[in-house]
Symmetry: C2
DNA sequence: TTGTTCAATATGTATATACGTATGAATATG
DNA sequence: CATATTCATACGTATATACATATTGAACAA
């Protein structure tokens, strides 16, 4: 398989949570991106080292854009994400100054 | 091969630029992440649909952490990156854009 | 120019594995 | 019981990856 299973676990978990948050089944998500349900299952289960193209399509279908962040800026980006991390549908980006509970 | 070559082209190009910006050869980068130079070559050339684990290791070795960003927060993250991109390479790599047409 | 050497990148080929198809297990509902 | 829904797994095939070799390009000499 791949090289470092643990390294991608976080990412895969994020995808699974995003899918569930949208109330999608593996089959529905698969249909959206043109992948069989079985493959979604293996990807989420960490059973395969998924290719970047499938990963990008799945991520974007779930409203998650993978962005390469320079290491020194990672903490800043993470706190920005935490501040805007509400799992409702489409929180506008310009409402960032609002405080969350 | 994979599904949408153009969709990942931007990302691969970002990695290549990051590598060159650090003055690394394909062989040196390969040694850092435990991949043969030949594979780095095919990855950068878009000849293969690279697996997420290799992609993560390469990205991180180059000081780039791929983070899944919710779509509504993408503009905010991008501007944050732009603002903090003073010590990085001249033309920064984080210009992931749209899919192939 | 032609030839040589070195460094970086590309390519041929064999093998491990990701991916597609079909199926199975588990759960729910009538 | 049957049928539907959701997720997991076995098997065959396509391909990502590893190893070895070839090609490219720059620099230098005759």
């Amino acid at each position: 398989m791949g090289r470092s299973p643990a390294a991608r676990t976080v990412w895969l978990q994020a995808l699974k949570e995003a899918r569930l948050a949208r109330g999608l089944s593996q089959a529905e998500l698969g249909a959206m991106v043109g992948l069989p349900q079985s493959h979604i299952s293996r990807i989420e289960g960490g059973a395969v080292d998924v290719g970047i193209s499938a990963l990008l399509e799945i991520s974007r279908s779930l409203g998650l854009e993978p962005i390469p962040v320079p290491a020194p800026l990672v903490p800043a980006v993470r706190s920005l994400l935490r501040a805007g991390a509400h799992d409702g549908p489409a929180r506008p980006a310009y409402a960032l100054d609002e405080d969350d509970g």
